[in-house]
């Protein structure tokens, strides 16, 4: 930028700088805090992941990830669970959001409480509730047998089933909220126009409504998938030690083996994968939608 010369030019430039710095300094405390408790620790782990036991540079931890099958399994199960959870969330959440979006505002807002309350209820409390409901002598099994739906108690928890049920329950609001918001924003005149042009209700839905609600759906599904990748509590409790997602593996490496290098390298790979998915997604949808969905 050129520096125009003229009366007061230097003073005005100084004033502009001071104003900018003042406003910038308002983010100072937050920036310092995030740096101290996030950037530095995560950066440090990143560094650790490239050191061997003797403290020299090595790719040992990353090599082990390729060689040891247990690591590969952790990644595979993490992606499988995340994928299935996201798919179930779409199958359950999209129709729910659709019905809610067609209801009158008041009725929809009342139904939204059913979505919002679990959204803000402690994750641990909800996981616990599922544990209680799904166990062998739990509510679901006792009622199922009492009603004659099945004879022997089903294995609903301490396995993949329990983990999936719990994760779908926790993630569903993250899908419903952005999808609902994007459906509400759709102008009903489009559908009238489609009907007027001869589209059957079903065709109008597939050709008009679905494409218009797609940005919200993609944002919601992406959010669900990314959050699933980092899940720890639900698989730990509802998986009963049998489901080892990457986060659980990281915790085990620290708690049991004190192997910082191994844990760090796993964390780094998980973070990089998350970042890559976000980056690829940002080329398809605008990411501010994604962040907007959570705070509503």
């Amino acid at each position: 930028m050129s520096h125009p010369a003229g009366p007061n030019a230097a003073g005005l430039r100084r004033d502009a700088l001071v104003e900018r710095l003042t406003l910038f300094s308002l983010s100072g405390p937050a920036l310092l805090l995030v740096t101290m408790t996030m950037l530095v620790p995560v950066g440090w782990l990143f560094w650790l992941s490239f050191l061997d036991d003797a403290g020299g540079f090595s790719l040992e931890h990353y090599r082990r990830m390729l060689v040891q099958p247990s690591y590969g399994r952790a990644f595979r199960i993490t992606f499988e669970i995340s994928f299935i959870t996201t798919a179930i969330c779409i199958l359950l959440g999209y129709p729910l959001a659709y019905v809610l979006s067609q209801l009158p505002r008041r009725a929809a807002n009342i139904c939204m409480i059913a979505v919002m309350l679990p959204f803000w209820t402690s994750l641990l409390v909800r996981t616990y509730a599922w544990l209680v409901l799904l166990q062998r002598q739990g509510v679901i099994n006792t009622w199922g047998i009492k009603l004659g739906l099945w004879d022997t108690p089903l294995a609903l928890v301490h396995n993949l089933n329990g983990t999936l049920i719990g994760m779908v329950h926790i993630m569903l609001p993250f899908l419903v909220l952005p999808v609902y918001a994007s459906m509400r924003a759709i102008d009903q005149d489009y559908l009238k126009a489609a009907a007027n042009l001869g589209a059957s209700p079903t065709r109008a839905f597939w050709l008009v409504f679905l494409p218009l609600s797609l940005p919200g759906l993609i944002a919601g599904a992406l959010m669900v998938f990314i959050l699933c990748l980092g899940f720890y509590v639900t698989p730990a409790v509802l998986g009963g030690g049998k489901i080892t997602m990457v986060a659980n593996r990281i915790a085990t490496d620290i708690e049991l083996f004190f192997n910082w290098g191994a844990a760090s390298s796993l964390g780094v790979v998980l973070f990089v994968l998350t970042g890559m998915i976000l980056y690829l997604a940002s080329r398809i949808v605008r990411l501010d939608r994604l962040l907007g969905g959570g705070g509503a």
Binding site: G6, P7, L12, A16
Partner: protein, 358 residues
């Protein structure tokens, strides 16, 4: 408030660019003590930027702004002591009307009793006495506008700035408020800078108008001078309707397409000129032609009945289209008809042909 308390404003070489876009280009402007000056220009001309610089919300790259003797260009907005009325009024919805108006008084540490009295005075002044306890969302657009004005003058600033304050009102209310604002200015005598893109509003209200285009002041003068004697084509075309035809001036006189024209005043230099034709100064000539009236032959292209009058579009011999109003009571001309248009010599106004007109 005494008129002598009002401050003159002197703006010198005020410049602002965003990247390569020059919003204001070394603008000089003098606003006289107690004057009502309007900044008039199309959107994007820089008029609002200039106003925001006077208020201190936009920082120029360089230049100087003096209120009276005092240089204020680096002064923070809250120390400038100017009243400001925004386009959307920006009333505080979390305070009632009295709270809004008392806001500047409270900031100046004025006691409750006096503040109360001055708030009521200000409300009387804008003809909303007794409205103090109303909530902002209970007010109509016109009332909000008045409250915003009351808030801007209650602390007796010596300069009042207004950014298109009437643009959100409907036409009738706007015209009413124009007169009221003008009367208020007469009573208070504050130096007032008023921004608008509505030329009629500018002509109605101002002591002087500064016409701005592309970050430059193109002309600054009284409404009458601006309208009747624009110094360039931009001003002539922006203010009022006008059509231009090229005429030749030489020692023998002035001719348009070979037709000799009588002028109000003969320009000193010879050469081509633009003759400004305002539609309302044209008339349709019947038979007799009085002296001092130029006769321009024209062909009617369309005649549109508009109730109170008939709008006649016609083409001059050089092909220039002009329009003229005819009384609806006489026989309306029809398309294709040839007729004579009259232009008083006293109403002729020539502009030198600019290198880059428009």
């Amino acid at each position: 408030m005494a008129r002598d308390a009002a401050l003159p404003i002197a703006v010198r070489r005020l410049t602002k660019s965003y990247g390569t876009l020059r919003v204001l280009d070394a603008v000089d402007l003098d606003v006289r003590r107690g004057e009502f000056l309007t900044l008039l220009g199309p959107s994007g001309s820089g008029k609002t930027t200039l106003l925001m610089m006077l208020a201190g919300f936009v920082r120029p790259d360089c230049g100087s702004i003096a209120f009276g003797e005092r240089e204020v260009i680096r002064l923070a907005p809250h120390k400038r002591d100017v009243g400001m009325v925004f386009q959307n009024y920006a009333l505080f919805p979390h305070m009632d009307v009295a709270g809004n108006i008392a806001f500047p008084l409270k900031l100046r540490g004025i006691g409750k009793a006096e503040a109360l009295q001055r708030v009521e005075q200000a409300l009387e002044l804008v003809k909303l006495g007794g409205y103090g306890a109303r909530r902002i969302d209970q007010l109509s657009g016109g009332q909000r506008q008045r409250i915003a004005l009351a808030r801007a003058i209650v602390f007796e600033p010596r300069i009042l700035l207004m950014d298109e304050p009437l643009s959100a009102l409907d036409k009738q209310l706007r015209e009413h408020m124009q007169i009221e604002l003008r009367q208020l200015h007469e009573r208070l005598g504050m130096t007032t800078v008023y921004v608008t893109h509505d030329q009629r509003e500018a002509l109605t209200m101002s002591d002087r108008i500064a016409v701005i285009d592309q970050g430059c002041i193109r002309q600054i003068d009284t409404p009458k001078e601006i309208y009747e004697r624009p110094t360039n084509r931009f001003v002539a075309e922006f203010i009022g309707e006008s059509t231009f035809v090229t005429v030749d001036v030489d020692t023998a006189g002035c001719t348009f397409n070979g037709i000799p024209l009588a002028l109000a005043s003969q320009p000193a230099r010879k050469g081509p000129y633009h003759l400004m034709i305002r539609p309302e100064r044209l008339s349709i000539l019947e038979q007799s032609v009085s002296a001092g009236v130029n006769v321009l032959p024209a062909t009617v292209t369309a005649a549109i009945y508009q109730g109170d009058s008939v709008l006649v579009h016609a083409s001059l011999p050089d092909g220039t289209m002009v329009s003229v109003r005819a009384s609806a009571s006489v026989r309306a001309p029809v398309a294709g008809e040839k007729l004579n248009l009259g232009l008083n010599a006293a109403d002729t106004y020539l502009l030198p042909v600019e290198e880059s007109a428009a």
